[in-house]
Amino acid sequence: MRAMEPEELAELALRAAVAAGAGYADARWVRQETESLTVTDDRVDDLEAEDSSGLGVRVLVDGCWGFAASALLDPERVRDLGRRAVEIARAAASVPGEPVRLAPLEPAVASWSTPLGRDPFVVPLAERVELLLAACEAQRAVAGLTHARATVDLWRRRTLFWSSEGARLDQTVTQTGAGIEAVAVGDGDLQQRSWPNSFRGQFLAGGWEVVEAADLVGNAQRVAREAVDLLHAPELPERVTTVILDGQQLSLQVHESVGHPLELDRIFGTEASYAGTSFVRPEDRGRLRYGSEAMSVTSDATTPGGLGTFGFDDEGVPAQRAPLVAGGMLEGFLTSRETATALGTTSGGAMRADGWGSPPLIRMTNVNLEPGEGTLDDLVADTADGLLLSVNRSWSIDDRRVNFQFGVEAAWEIRGGRLGRLFKNATYDGRTTNFWGSMDAVCGPQAWVVWGIPNCGKGQPYQNGRVSHGAAPGRFRDVHVGVRGSGGSGGLKASPPVDGGSGGAHG
């Protein structure tokens, strides 16, 4: 028997769902190809090549959601997915709430794909291996280095989205990443320096040109030297000071303390038990001062090269650009068709699933900190006393996105407008609106880069999202760096709780 085409499978699932009683249904057929290569020192340490296709059916029955998905796609099983999704939705009605209503949407019939320079999947594996071995060899030329690692990751996802409202969408998104990690070990310590970013490098939508732009070999020796230097650098002492975050670190700061708190599902409490909620309330729009006047943040699914760039989200809503924070004031949220209804608006197009097996959730697209003026050199020159903090190595924030603490790979002292000593094990912490309120400068377009975050976790079952943040280096005043209580004897401070007061708050 002839295998059915993906379009036929999507149509079959949709018809089965509607016939079983779905008031609304959509079917997503997804094929995801992944190739991941890791070279450590002088050998290929890992190579994964994965090809995964499947279909997920999402339905609304009497205002309740149901979702069923499978990788095994014979016609009878596909029909069963439609029926099963309806059965799941009906079971949900036993613990009902307000019926789900979807914001209106003009169903689109369209195709979209990521603009590519050179298709990364056709770059011969031998060429990829050769590049990564060369990047490791260049790192290993630096005396004192313990390990060199280089990576390339390729992802391609084709999504067919068929809805009972008539949407017929065919999208192919290609994303590419590359990076190096230099590791120095000694005297009971381990230090790492990465390029262009930590956690396997820089990721963008695009082709092999992303790898070439990273210039892994050209940066290898500098990065390796910095790792070795870190091993011998002093610990960053605890204090309150001015910090400049580089674009890599600032992109994660945006992610954790702006992007996530403005996801409207978190705000409405539907992610409460796992990822958490938000300190932001729906009524804060137009009223909450989120940060200083230098802070403007935009959600933009059209940003060239972003991991959150697409033609349509996974509800079939077209890509959009909209302000989230303008001049420090809260202006908008990341929304879905369901949550937009509660605000009386249409969806902002932020529903994304991590594959065929997961229902879409509200996710960031490209949540960008808009640029200001000048270069990083200008900003350092304008700073009398402080620190330049570079590239993330640790992150944590509370379940309402208020109290955060980040660690970075490297910290350079700034004295009299010049970079000075290198410090290791640097951390900083604060509270979200206080911290953003202390930002007095962001560098300009020449320093603004779209940084990819390929490992954003959310949802149950767990989903891994890929998002981006455009960011240039930014400066923050009166920031607490280092960890209270980490050094010194300190003694045991078993004080009784106090009512009111500042209680050690800072930021």
């Binding site: 340490d45 381990l190 709780p497």
Partner: protein, 447 residues
């Protein structure tokens, strides 16, 4: 789709029949399950999915290794994946350290498959949620998830490995919200029928009510009683920070220079034991090596590492059955950690604390310093002040930044009962509650 059983091994055998391979291995995994999520005391998301993965590892020219993974079990697709893996292998540089593949082994039968759990339908899960939600006290709402799933795993290789195993798992988590306070509880078992969902709901609701109107507490070092979920976070982080032999060999393990030495209190023993009756999983690793019980920390002494096949060959020891799909940049990984319980009832742990904090669980923990085993994270869903052995109300959540080994060195008592907990997908860990004399809280939040 019903359980596939021996059919999985047949798929694996088709896969390794590729012509021209010197070595071949197939890993076949079928997973299926449903998850019902609720929030604001209503079911808002309910899903079911099934997946089937075939991963091939082929070796040509003696030591060139290629892999390919597909999500399909049709013979033509599997054969195409085998050709792809062989093509990759021919392109790869030789691996001088290629260790070969494991040979046949006997596997302990693990009776962790429960038909009722595998067959649990959405109405069953919704019914459990409804039962809990409808019994909540006035003014309390709930969020959480009820999940049932089944897992079948097969591994076959040309050297005669034929491993087949299956497990089921059920979990129920609930966050109760009483306005200014939240409480939380979670249970996980191989069999759905063994989950006491009503008790979990009552515990979370009681905590939420008790956690209302939290007071502010200055950051600082305090004695603590950590409940099992919080202890499980510490144990799982230790697992991630370097019990694997490859991490140790590469110098990226906190155990470098410490094996055989005392690293924490003699009250602390940590094992990895996938064969324990009270955990979830199959009895072999992703290379088909039988899993063994390994004592990692023995009464406070760093005792042993876990080994995949490659590391075991390098060290001249037997593999412990902790291999991830090979080749792996990470190496061996302990996925079934357990801290051995003590003799102190949980209530006595609190009763024995003059002044300090009772912590329900941690949130968003992350590594700060690997060699120091320092991590940071937040408390959430029930953090209480204890004075003279009595809980004296809730406090606002605090950030901790703390060396795990330092905390485990300051253990005063170990709880007698354990819970199976999970943290951010790193696996499952069974842990007791702990009383610890000093735990560093570095900052505070607003709720």
């Amino acid at each position: 789709m019903a359980r596939l059983g021996e059919r999985l091994l047949e798929v694996a055998e088709v896969a390794i029949a590729a012509e021209g391979a010197d070595d071949a291995e197939a890993l076949v995994i079928r997973e299926a399950g449903g998850l019902t999520r609720f929030a604001s005391s209503r079911i808002h998301q309910s899903t079911w999915r099934e997946d089937l993965l075939v991963r091939l590892r082929l070796v040509v020219d003696g030591n060139r290794v290629g892999t390919a993974t597909i999500h399909d079990m049709e013979p033509a697709a599997v054969a195409a994946a085998a050709r792809r893996a062989a093509e990759v292998a021919r392109t790869m540089p030789p691996d001088p350290g290629y260790p070969g593949m494991p040979g046949p082994a006997a596997y302990a039968a693990a009776a962790r498959w429960d038909e009722a759990t595998a067959a649990a339908d959405p109405a069953t899960r919704a019914g459990l949620v409804a039962g809990v939600v409808h019994r909540l006290p006035a003014g309390v709402t709930a969020a959480g998830a009820c999940e049932t799933r089944e897992l079948e795993v097969a591994v076959a290789n040309l050297r005669g490995v034929r491993a087949l195993g299956a497990t089921t798992a059920a979990s129920f988590s609930i966050l109760a919200d009483a306005g200014s306070g939240t409480g939380w509880a979670e249970g996980a078992e191989p069999r759905l029928a063994d989950l006491d969902v009503a008790a979990l709901g009552e515990r979370a609701a009681r905590k939420a009510v008790d956690a209302r109107e939290p007071r502010e507490l200055p950051p600082g070092a305090y004695p603590v009683v950590l409940e099992p979920a919080a202890v499980a976070t510490l144990v799982q982080f230790l697992g991630w920070l370097g019990f694997g032999a490859k991490a140790y060999d590469e110098g990226r393990s906190f155990l470098v220079g410490r094996l055989g030495q005392r690293v924490c209190s003699p009250l602390v023993t940590i094992v990895d034991d996938a064969l324990a009756a009270d955990t979830i999983g199959v009895g072999f690793d992703f290379e088909g090596v039988p899993k063994r019980r390994v004592t990692l920390i023995d009464e406070g002494v760093a005792a042993s590492l876990v080994y995949d096949y490659r590391a075991a060959r390098q060290h001249g020891v037997e593999p412990t059955g902790h291999g991830l799909p090979a080749p792996s940049a990470e190496g061996a990984y302990p996925m079934h950690l357990a801290m051995v319980p003590g003799a102190t009832a949980r209530a006595e742990l609190v009763a024995g604390m003059e002044r300090g904090l009772l912590v329900t669980r941690f949130h968003y923990t992350n590594l700060v310093n690997l060699m120091e085993t320092t991590i940071t994270g937040m408390t959430r869903d029930g953090t209480f002040w204890v004075e003279d052995g009595q809980v004296r109300g809730a406090v606002r959540n605090l950030r901790f930044t703390q060396s795990i080994l330092d905390a485990l060195s300051a253990v005063r008592a170990v709880g007698a009962d354990t819970e199976l907990a999970s943290e951010d997908g790193h696996g499952a860990a069974r842990a007791p509650a702990l009383a610890i004399d000093r735990f560093n809280f570095s900052s505070a939040t607003t709720f």
